[in-house]
Point group: none
Chain length 193, copies 4
């Protein structure tokens, strides 16, 4: 994994505050002056560490994607059955959301297409690939229904994303990790052949 994450203290400050603001207010409403205010760092310092606001956003985004892919490799890929992969995918996302809702929301909602030229959410590009891999594994061994795989992918990612949104919006108040098994089971009961 390419390490893009900042290492000096001040760079870290900028990075973290930026991620928070981008999620809270959206990329366009989070201005450099906002960032300066919220971080206590100078304009100059921001432009010293990042070539532009857009590049700062891209860095944050790519780090989140890489984190996602890493987590996926660790948590999900090693599982043998489709059912287990689904369970661990839910577990991975819910625990991550409990730990760092900001990053997860960035991944889900920062709507990079508006900002960057890439178009990534968990179910698009690399994200979509991950979920499709779960599906094709489950379908290959006859564990999942032999229907349109895109549809099954939506059955996996859709509820997970919704749950995280509902957590973010305060509709769900308990930790998502309490709901891992129930959610995974429900999703699995839709997929199972």
């Amino acid at each position: 994994m390419k390490k893009t994450t900042p290492d000096t203290e001040i760079k870290n400050k900028i990075y973290n505050v930026a991620r928070k603001l981008f999620v809270e207010k959206g990329y366009h409403r989070a201005s450099i002056p906002d960032l300066v205010r919220a971080s206590g760092v100078s304009i100059g310092a921001i432009y010293h560490h990042f070539p532009s606001k857009e590049e700062l956003a891209r860095t944050i985004h790519e780090d989140a994607v890489n984190l996602f892919l890493n987590k996926y490799d660790c948590y999900v890929r090693p599982r043998q059955s489709g059912r287990e992969k689904v369970r661990y995918f839910v577990k991975m996302m819910f625990e991550w959301a409990d730990t760092d809702l900001i990053t997860v929301n960035y991944l889900l909602h920062a709507r990079p297409p508006e900002v960057l030229n890439c178009n990534f959410t968990i179910c698009t590009a690399e994200g979509l690939e991950a979920v499709k891999e779960i599906i094709s594994c489950g379908q290959a061994c006859g564990e999942f229904k032999p229907v349109n795989p895109i549809l099954l992918a939506a059955m996996v990612s859709g509820p997970i994303m919704r749950m995280i949104e509902l957590k973010t919006d305060g509709v769900i108040t308990e930790p998502l990790s309490n709901l891992i098994d129930e959610t995974a089971e429900l999703i699995f009961s839709a997929l199972r052949a």
Copy 2:
């Protein structure tokens, strides 16, 4: 249903172009000059018909919400079983998305909370109520699993939203209406007791 939709030709032009741009570029990136360019209407005309950009967005948003609620009342509420309600909800959303993807996406993604003071997506506020109504109906008669209703709600709305996103992103190319039965069945198999 309160009719907020514009009636003069030019007001309509502004309204439609605005909705399109707000979805395509997001509220903040869709500037008034953009709107002027895209619609051929003058700045003054926009402000003659709508008191502000924000109010224009709010009008569009409320119209979409009202449309959703109306459709829900017509399509979904009259169905007797939970299964039928789910099927007609999927049908309603997929056919709507095929007919007017812009409005549906506005509803799903325009993220009005950034802009407006309301916070509505199909699964929040009125939208959430609609889906919860489906769930509680299905649970009341023992048709659906007696688990956390929020979770079941996410199992309904999540996949639908995902499918519409995938259609928007071009991952799905066929009309969503081709996938109504399959999707509804899949969702139902997750919910069923």
Copy 3:
């Protein structure tokens, strides 16, 4: 006296509301939309009766000037002595201010130079002439001090304007007409030889 004052009901409405707003908010802050709001008259009607906002202001201003000159001719000019002229000038202004503070303030403060190309306050142009006439009359017959007439003019107009300002600002609450004799006497005691 050239009669510029409007005669139709609607023209009158525009005229009176405009004068009020020009004094209250100043010419530049009193917008045509404000005028429409405050008068209930349509934009079109305003432009039907007056060629432009500036011309409307000029009309109002010239009427006020003409009114001033007429009043001067009636009240002040016929007086024989400087003392009487001063007394009647004070009387004229104070009674006018009690009756129609708006017009008087327009005359004093609308600062037409900002707006129009004329530069008139009671003590400039025609206004100045009036006061200078009082002074030269009083000086000619040895009633007033033989000092710089401009200075004496300032001694007449300055206190009168100040009193009207203080009335407008609410510092003086009683009718100015109660103060006519006292004021005139005070001014006269400064001028008298």
Copy 4:
């Protein structure tokens, strides 16, 4: 005295040009682009140094008020008799007007009430207090007539303001300082018991 006056060169430039334009054209007609044109400073620089046009005006205004109050404390307050106070007040204002007509006119005419929330001219608020102090001192020791003090105040401030206006309008061409004694004497002859 709180020092609000700017200290960097560019801030000074903005400040001085703004004061000049506000007096010449009035607050509302003096636009930021005008300011940019007249000062050679960029828009950004203006907003870097002052949070808004209104705050810029308020700063200028408050500085002028403070300057007035300081001058009053130095020149007028130490005088013992009412006559001397009047003389020094005239002297202070006339010399100030000769030196910096712009600031004095700002104080007299910028009509901040339209803009700001304070309502200060020499004879209102702090200004009025200053003149009233002169009056009450003179009345206390029987030097001035025992009439309505507001009236006496108008006899002091009115002619002074008129003279400065006449100087500004070009009616008076010689330095006002030539007229100090004559003016003070005239005013005093009105006040004296």
